[in-house]
């Protein structure tokens, strides 16, 4: 391996690790904490050091992505230990939403199709988890999540097949109709779905014993429980993003981008148009279902009316504002989703707008809609795209 060869790199990393471990043992209150802290820091340093090896990203792309994911998860999981329960809760909700955004971002960016039905696919995943858990309470969580993903992919297949030949507006129309019909479908099977009232999970998701032992006896249950929820969601998000990053770069991803840009060329090269489109649709709906499934775990319940056309429009808006077809865009969108109500209420409080009046209630919508229009007109690549452009310009300037 290359990093063994560079003497200075090795000794610098080793020195940093020693220093980190020493500081950790001085600061951490008890042995268990020290070990956890030490592991977290070592992973971070090793990971970053690996990533900064010149050319590593090009020669070992999958490994590089995995390392990046591990480092990001490392920092995030570490942070959840210190966050308050409400922050962890919002973080979890936002992370799950970013998975949904990533799916739609892929569909729109990589394969050029538009879908207004992603809230319904979220609903499919959310209901799948709730219905399954109510009938088979002992299934491990991972399996339940996979079942939800499979359901989402299946419904995506059902809708994706007729959609292969549709142009933009007609596809938008079909997915819109699906989003609107979702509530009606749910209400046609109330004995399974609970109708408008929805379903609760039979048992709440609780942390395993070894995690609870990290906290002293007086720390509230709420803190521990929400930290665990945030951790699960963050790990699943990391895995989902890792898969998507690889998909983007793979042959399938390239084929889809070709279909988006030049159908004729794609066909000439031998890409099957319908197949590429359906796969893209299924991936996007599977991701949406995963996000919805996580919401059910976090909320411990599912409320079908949440998955409305309005939510679909919100999802589309966040994808556009974050940046179509980019991974960082999905993350940005998730953060915006988690904190937009807080930002807006902060704004109304500090500008003297009546917080229960008409303007305050419509402000999120007006701001969102306005952002959507402005983004699409002036910065169609979203925040992530804009940042990338600035970064690229700086790089160009840096070379002599």
């Amino acid at each position: 391996m290359k990093w063994l060869v560079a003497e200075r790199r090795r000794s610098l990393s080793a020195a940093l690790i020693v220093v980190a471990v020493v500081i950790t043992s001085l600061l951490a209150p008890n042995p268990r904490d020290r070990v956890a802290l030490g592991v977290a820091i070592v992973v971070a340093i090793v990971g970053v050091a690996t990533l900064t090896i010149r050319g590593f990203r090009e020669t070992h792309p999958v490994f590089a992505r995995a390392t990046l994911t591990v480092v990001a998860l490392d920092v995030a999981l570490f942070a959840t230990y210190f966050f308050s329960s409400i922050t962890n809760f919002n973080l979890a909700i936002g992370a799950a939403m970013s998975i949904v955004l990533l799916g739609l971002s892929f569909l729109t960016g990589a394969s050029g199709q538009i879908s207004l039905g992603n809230s319904a696919f979220m609903g499919v995943g959310a209901l799948a988890v709730a219905i399954w858990a109510n009938h088979h309470a002992s299934t491990p969580m991972v399996v339940t999540l996979l079942i939800a993903v499979a359901c989402g992919a299946f419904v995506g297949l059902l809708l994706g097949l007729p959609a292969t030949r549709l142009r933009g507006p007609y596809l938008a129309g079909m997915t819109l109709a699906f989003a609107v019909a979702f509530t009606a479908i749910v209400n046609s099977f109330t004995s399974w779905t609970g109708g408008d009232a929805g379903l609760q999970l039979p048992t709440a998701v609780t942390p395993p014993q070894w995690l609870s032992s990290f906290f002293n006896a007086q720390t509230s249950l709420l803190r521990v429980n929400t930290m665990w929820l945030a951790d699960i969601t963050i790990v699943v998000t990391g895995v989902a993003f890792f898969f998507m990053a690889n998909l983007f770069a793979s042959r399938t991803g390239r084929a889809m981008r070709l279909v988006r840009d030049n159908e004729v060329a794609a066909e000439l090269v031998g890409v099957s148009l319908p197949r590429a489109r359906v796969i893209a649709f299924m991936v996007s709906s599977a991701y949406a279902a995963l996000g919805g499934a996580l919401w059910t775990l976090i909320n411990n319940s599912v409320s079908p009316p949440t998955f409305s056309l309005a939510l679909s429009i919100t999802i589309l808006s966040l994808v556009v504002i974050g940046g179509i077809g980019t991974i960082s865009g999905a993350l940005i969108g998730g953060v915006i989703y988690a904190y937009s109500t807080n930002v807006i209420s902060w704004f109304t409080q500090h500008t003297g707008i009546n917080s229960q009046g008409n303007l305050a209630s419509q402000l999120p919508g007006i701001v969102f809609g306005g952002l959507l229009i402005l983004t699409m007109l002036f910065a169609p690549m979203g925040i992530a795209g804009a940042v990338r452009r600035v970064w690229a310009r700086r790089r160009v300037r840096m070379t002599p």
């Binding site: 610098l12 906290f215 709420l222």
Partner: protein, 456 residues
Amino acid sequence: MTRGELDMRKTYARRLATTSAALLLSTGLVMAGGSVVTAGAATHTPGVTASQITIGATVPLTGIAANGYNEVAKAADAVFMYVNSKGGVNHRKIKYILKDDCYGTPGFGCTGTPSTVTQTHALLSLPVFATVGSLGTPTQDSVRSLLKSNGVPQLFVNSGSRDWNNPTAYSGLFGWQTSYNEESKIFAKYINATYASANVCFLGQGDDFGSDGLAGLVAGGVTPSDTQLYSVAALVTTQGASLAPYIARFQTDKCTVVVLDTIPGATDAALGAALQLGYAPHWVISSVGSDPVTVFGPLAAKGLTADPEVGAVSFSFLPTPGSSSAWIPWMRKVLTADKSQFPGFSSTSTLDGNMEYGIGWGVAFVEALKASGKNFTRASFLKTLTSTTFSQTPSLTPLRYTTTDHQGLNGGYLVTVTSATSAKPVDGKIYTTDSTSTGPVVSAKKLSSGIPSWLK
């Protein structure tokens, strides 16, 4: 320096920068967090200090269900503020935090966060001693296990569902109002007595509200010939039009009595549809959706001058605003004193059912708090709650919980809507029953007694 050396220096610099950043970040987190980890929650009862008790609720202050319902918790808060102005309960003032969950439904002017789970998490992080008077059946169902797993009592849920009466699974969960099931049994007795052998149709909400109500009707001896359940989401998206086919069916079925277990918005839609069809059955409407002011308001805004609800029969477990109960002037006094939430409320303002409802359980909470003594824990408070009979509250029947029954009130009287702003008792007789499906409906004298001296 060659280009290659320049690049290598940049790489080292960059790596140094990133690893130092990682190290600093983690160290910073440790320093910041160290104190957090060691400082656990205090060993005293959460939400309670020597001078204050903090309680909270998730209620629809704005949004789809706000019309009328947003007054309920505010009226209870008026009671708390009144009691605080007299020194509090056992020298402890009550701080009541309201979180707007828009009934869990986004849109329609919602300025809160339309997720009951999120808002409940926000309350729990404050922390609160208990949630008191949160509103809604599906909304409160969705947070039962969250509150249970965190040991937080869920008191006086504003809903008549039987879901709150499950002491074995949820020992800290309590309802307050007379349940839909009991109300419907009393309706059935009335229908059998007044409209013997009539064709009865039933329109109910597609959740516990409708199904419990229907079960109560049947248990009380009235089996509707046509039963329809409506979805709130569909009602909302079609702006009421989704109920028109159901009312049309009732008309085709020739039902002369229609029982509505509907929220006010659905009551409006049903009355409107009947008007359009020229259909005028005898309406029997649940207390949930019959308050005259709440029902007629939106209809008046659309241009209706005559109130189609006049003549409808409903149910009340609180004295009507025009009654001679000593509580009515007391309620007015409390609301008038609350200048922030009921500005301009005076002796001539309309006292409506929602305000009475909030004051009803507000008084119950205050009395339970007093009965718990100066030093209490969550456990001891709940024990007091299940071993005391509260007969000096505004409700027509005493409030009594046991270790096996957490439902709450168990009776009331029938009222008829007389105008756009008022309703009167039908015969003044108070009926009580229970939440089993076969309990008898008993007619009783007025059972609640007056205002305790320390509240006057």
